[in-house]
């Protein structure tokens, strides 16, 4: 099983390096999604299948979609030049190879699923839920308050304010 861990770790590190060193924001975001998927494979290997699913759904799904929406709204990047570059193979060959390595890794790990599940300890979602809603109930409530504040704050910051012009208070 160790081989799968090392392959996923190498994929995660390479794609993270590409994500922080890229010039185009969208390409970097795609590399970041690949890095999150690789870390999700590691979560699965660490016998945390529930967290692996959450990582894919919330991180790679929801949060990265937010990023991509904002990047597209701001219209960042060199679109004209980027469009020409899209057809060049070096734009897509490295992420494709990394994604294929990850896929093969996942398939081989799933083939050995019996050796995983026959082991003693996989921490199941049931245990996590029981712990979450008994020991950490106060934390859940605080997280709920935080999410509420986040919703209100994002709405307030995101709304376009009507500009009131005043001849004495005008800011240059």
């Amino acid at each position: 099983m160790d081989v799968f861990f090392y392959i996923a770790a190498v994929v995660a590190i390479i794609s993270t390096v590409m994500a922080i060193s890229g010039r185009n924001a969208i390409h970097s975001l795609l590399y970041l999604i690949l890095s999150l998927l690789a870390i999700s494979v590691i979560f699965y290997l660490l016998s945390a299948p529930f967290i692996a699913a959450l990582e894919v759904i919330i991180y790679a799904g929801a949060i990265m979609v937010l990023f991509i929406f904002v990047t597209m709204m701001l219209n960042i990047g060199l679109e004209r030049e980027a469009e020409k570059k899209w057809l060049k193979p070096r734009m897509w060959i490295i992420p494709s190879i990394l994604a294929v390595v990850l896929l093969v890794n996942l398939i081989l790990a799933l083939k050995n699923i019996k050796t995983i599940s026959s082991d003693k300890e996989a921490i199941l979602p049931k245990q996590v839920g029981i712990s979450l809603f008994s020991t950490y109930l106060l934390g859940v409530e605080i997280a709920a308050i935080l999410l509420m504040a986040g919703v209100i704050g994002a709405y307030h910051l995101g709304s376009q304010k009507k500009k009131v012009k005043h001849r004495f208070l005008e800011i240059k």
Partner: protein
């Protein structure tokens, strides 16, 4: 079962964390800085999961769920702020946002 030593796993999480830190320090584009912060959050969550698996306790996964909630709030607020900054300054360069700096 995974027999990778726990030190190696922590080392991997540390490498990911420091890649995020380097990105945060080097890049000046706000989108990239926020992405680097995401990478660092993710590495911190990875350490929680490694520890939870090491001691066979569900507490690490509970902490990861809390990190997930904090990250979601942080990203939405930060992206709203980035939108506002872009509307004011017409750039995402974080060096351009220095109106609070002392003028000397």
């Amino acid at each position: 079962m995974l027999t990778v030593p726990v030190e190696t796993q922590i080392l991997f999480a540390g490498v990911i964390f420091f890649l995020g830190l380097i990105g945060l320090l080097v890049r000046r584009n706000m989108i990239f800085m926020l992405m680097s912060i995401e990478i660092m959050f993710n590495a911190a969550g990875l350490v929680f999961i490694i520890a939870g698996t090491h001691w066979n306790q569900p507490d690490g996964q509970v902490m990861f769920i809390f990190i997930l909630a904090v990250t979601a709030v942080e990203v939405s607020i930060a992206l709203a702020l980035i939108l506002q900054v872009y509307h004011h300054f017409k750039t995402l360069d974080s060096d351009a946002v220095n109106n609070l700096k002392d003028s000397n």
